[in-house]
Every structure is written in C-alpha cells, then in structure tokens.
Symmetry: C2
C-alpha cells in the first residue's frame, strides 16, 4: 500500500487523465484557501516564499520547490506544530532532468534542473473544514490549471501524509 | 580546465578554508548590492522570490534554491537579456542527501532533501563596477556568514560563468 500513493500520483502527473472539465478562476474577493477549495490555483502563489526544495526518485523523477504563504513561513520559522489554521503549503513539481546545456559547459554529466512542470499541489490547513483528513485539505492542479477531482486520489494523498503524524502530516522541513 | 572550477568550489564548500577573519553586518543604509560587496549577506535575501531549483552531482552533491531580488524576477519573467544593473541572484546551497524519515514512510528509497547548508552565493549585476568580470560580481558566503576573499576562487566563478555568454553568464533558467 505504501508504494501505491506515489505510483498513482506519478501516473496521474504523466497522463492528466482525471480532471475537472474546466479550470475555475479566482474571484477578486476570494482568499487563497477559498479559491483552492473552489477549484483554482490562488493568485500570486508563485510569489510565496521558499520553504525548501525536494527531489523524489522511485517512480516519480520529480523536482520540487515548496513555497508557503505568510502563515506557513511564520509557523516553520517558529517551529509551530501543529500548523495553525490558514497555513497553505504549495509544492511546485517539475520533472527532474539532466541539463544538457549546463553539462556541455561543465564538461561533465553533473547538472540536473527542473524540466517540464507536472503539477502544483497545495495543503491547506483548516482544522474544522478538513477535520476528516487530519485538518488538511489536499489539492492537486494539472498544468492546464484544472484541479483533480478524483476523490480516491485525494484520499491517497491523505493516507500517505497521515503516516507522518509526528510532524502534523507535513513531510517538508524548512531549509535555513 | 572546465572541471577545475566545480572541483574548487566543492573543495571550498567542504572545508571552508579560505575566508575573511570576521563576517561583516549590513548597515541599515546599505542596499543589498553594497552590503554584499562590503562582505555581508544582505538582510532579507531568504525572503526573495524563487527563480528555480538546482541539483549538481559530479563532485558537488549539492541541492540549491535559486532566489532573486525584484529586479531579477522581473527580468526573468520578461526574458530580459542582458540582465539589468541591480539584478541580484542568490544560490542557497545545501547537501543533496537521502531523507531517511521520508523513505521510511514511503517504504522506498526515493526521497532526497536538502541536508546541511554549505554556502550562499550571489551574482550582482553592475555593468560598470564589475566590467572586468562581464558586468557581474561573484560572491560566496560560508555558513558562518564570512565571505570568501580568495581572488583566485572568485575568478574561477567568473571563468566558468563566462563560458555561458549567450545567457549573460547566468546558468539558471526560470521555473514557471
């Protein structure tokens, strides 16, 4: 079972087969958490501050930048656990690929960079709204902006993160 | 020659043997470029926005987050080349290490995360001040905040970056 969730995520990232019909767009009066829950990536998330970077091999070959909204960054820097309501963590996933152009310059096969983006995932903390999944909402957006709406896959996100109870279901640690 | 610069950087990252006696601290009235040139990491650089992530193997085994000041981010998003004066690019380097805690949960040896930080490097664009090195100043700070002052090493930074003339000496591309 433990390997199922990453495999599923990889398969979905590769094919993008399960998605809503059309991406929504965030209304001006929506806060980021509401926008995500309503099916759109929040405006400005690409400008959020860095939590850390991540690299997954196995079946994923993914390269990620993990960003956080202000509440997330504050919680990380103050080592607050559990994370407070309002925390949003964004994982921007790309393929982990060799950089031919860098390697030519270095004269060595040593450089890996983000290739094509695969998805953006969000964890949104709302201990009441998402009480059934450890206080976290799990969201996965494809490159075209459409959210995954397949309940089984989202449940798999939770099932894997739920194994990390000691850190409030969050794998990523803060990079100083 | 092409392999010399990365090797040197790796050696210095590992040992930290060449450094100024004491780190300086940024004065309140110094802008970031002036602070860096005067020997201190600029206040607030850890809050700069993400340009991309990077992973170097070979002799480096390094994991990096590459951040930029506002001028850098704007130039990247608008594909401005050469980068305008005032651009500052920061590379936060860590060891690229397996995550035992993640792998236990995943049941698979697949997860790599930033280990100990090794250094923070800055490229500062000032076409007049740094005319002798392609318009860029190259700076390398150790974990204790001290800048490398070894001219040969800094020259090696330039010698390698200078091979990338087509992209104004900058290797990192913007991750969308």
């Amino acid at each position: 079972m433990k390997r199922i969730a990453p495999l599923l995520i990889a398969a979905i990232a590769l094919t993008g087969v399960i998605a809503a019909e059309t991406p929504n767009s965030q209304s001006a009066d929506q806060d980021p958490a509401t926008a995500i829950d309503a099916g759109s990536k929040p405006v400005g998330y690409r400008d959020w501050r860095l939590i850390s970077v991540a690299h997954e091999e196995g079946d994923l070959h993914s390269f990620a930048a993990v960003l956080g909204n202000d509440i997330a960054i504050k919680a990380y820097r103050e080592s607050t656990l559990p994370f407070p309501d309002g925390t949003i963590i964004a994982a921007l996933h790309y393929r982990h690929v060799p950089s031919e152009e860098n390697n030519k310059v270095f004269g060595s096969e040593q450089s890996f960079v983000p290739g094509d983006p695969t998805n953006v995932q969000f964890m949104v903390k709302d201990s009441k709204k998402y009480a059934a999944t450890g206080g976290w909402g799990f969201f996965h957006f494809l490159n075209d902006g459409k959210p995954l709406t397949d309940k089984k896959t989202i449940q798999d996100c939770f099932d894997c993160h739920a194994l990390n109870q000691g850190r409030d279901l969050v794998f990523t640690r803060y990079a100083p």
